[in-house]
């Protein structure tokens, strides 16, 4: 289980632009490096991140808010910062997927006044 730091407001006014920050613990090993013993270190990257919004009362995977494709040049423990407009109450679903079957999901609920 990867550790994450999710910094997202839990309340917002309708129409307000909110900032979302997501930080995840991950080595982002490029596959180009060698260990101190000289062996190649196997590639281990987060390949894809997505943030979806599931409105209250709705089911399914929700509406895509933001997505990113990550590559070898991105630092370990990647931080992503993006914005969204609060249109209604619901919950954000953050999903990271990557090499070696890596998959991690976090949720954060938002209530719009």
């Amino acid at each position: 289980m990867a550790r994450t730091l999710i910094t997202v407001p839990t309340t917002a006014r309708e129409g307000e632009v909110i900032e979302l920050r997501v930080l995840i613990q991950h080595p982002m090993e490029t596959g180009y490096r060698r260990s101190s013993d000289g062996d190649m270190l196997a590639r281990d990257l987060i390949r894809h991140f997505s943030c979806r919004f599931v409105a209250v009362g709705k089911s399914g995977e929700g509406e895509l808010v933001f997505a990113a494709t990550l590559h070898a040049a991105i630092a370990a423990n990647p931080l992503l910062l993006f914005h969204a407009r609060a249109t209604g109450s619901g919950s954000f679903v953050f999903t990271w997927t990557g090499d070696n079957g890596f998959a991690h999901t976090e949720r954060s609920s938002l209530s719009v006044r």
Binding site: L5, R21, L23, Q25
Partner: protein, 259 residues
């Protein structure tokens, strides 16, 4: 008259609180933080961006996790870390009477594990150890580094100072040659800091992970092409004890970010 008394009392109070709050203006020592790029400083200042907070969060969870034959966690003995661990990281390395030697914070965590929890000690730079150390250090953030006034530490501090001034390696440099004589000047892409251990354990951008002061010390030793002392060796702990003494009174920034 009464109003005068109140005013006098108020001004005395202000003076008293100022003398506590005011940092020593004559202190010319500077933390590694002051030598960093503004972007790296911003990363440290903001807990929502600082990657080291991931280790702190991990440490918070580990604090309550029972391990070992005694079935105890850190919380079993130390209860609320906000009070019990406040100032602890600012004090270490310290003399451990039971071991009759000086231990650093990692050493103390491992001592607790082996004696109280009856769990195996953690290897140097083990993620669990770094997470616990980060979490404990976090409780002292903002406090002044306060090495104990313990006579039994004098010998180790003197040893540490001697090692600090000792030229080593093929490149034949001492710690002092860079961190005192050339502090503030450029070495490769970065400024040479004054070697005050104000933020350990640190998230070092070069490592892409959190590491201890001993890892950092060993890094420099390899840098001058010297054989680094082993993790947990008396020499490294002695250097740590000397550096803490040298940085006494400076504010702890843990968990810091360094380039």
């Amino acid at each position: 008259m009464n109003a005068f008394k109140v005013a006098l009392a108020a001004s005395l109070l202000t003076a008293a609180s100022l003398s506590i709050a005011q940092p020593n203006v004559l202190d010319v020592r500077r933390s590694g933080f002051d030598f960093m790029q503004p972007s790296t400083q911003a990363l440290q200042r903001d807990d929502t961006q600082n990657p080291a907070m991931l280790w702190v969060k991990e440490g918070e969870a580990l604090w309550k996790k029972a391990e070992g034959a005694a079935g105890k966690s850190c919380a079993s003995c130390h209860a609320d870390p906000k009070t019990s661990m406040k100032g602890v990281a600012a004090r270490y390395p310290a003399y451990a009477s039971a071991l009759k030697q000086i231990v650093n914070l990692q050493g103390q965590i491992n001592t607790c594990r082996t004696t109280r929890m009856q769990a195996p000690p953690l290897a140097p730079e083990h993620q669990t150890l770094l997470s616990l150390e980060s979490f404990v250090a976090m409780q002292s953030r903002g406090l002044a580094i306060a090495p104990p006034a313990d006579e039994r530490m004098a010998a180790a501090r003197a040893r540490g100072e001697a090692l600090f001034n000792q030229r080593i390696g093929q490149i034949d440099l001492s710690c002092r040659d860079c961190h005192v004589s050339n502090a503030g000047r450029a070495l490769a892409g970065n400024k040479i800091p004054e070697a005050h251990p104000t933020g350990y354990p640190i998230y070092r951008l070069e490592w892409q992970t959190v590491g201890s002061l001993q890892r950092r010390l060993r890094n420099c030793m390899v840098g001058v092409r010297a054989e680094p002392y082993a993790f947990g060796s008396n020499e490294l702990v002695a250097i740590e004890a000397y550096l803490a003494q040298r940085a006494a009174g400076m504010r702890l920034e843990s968990p810091a970010v360094r380039p």
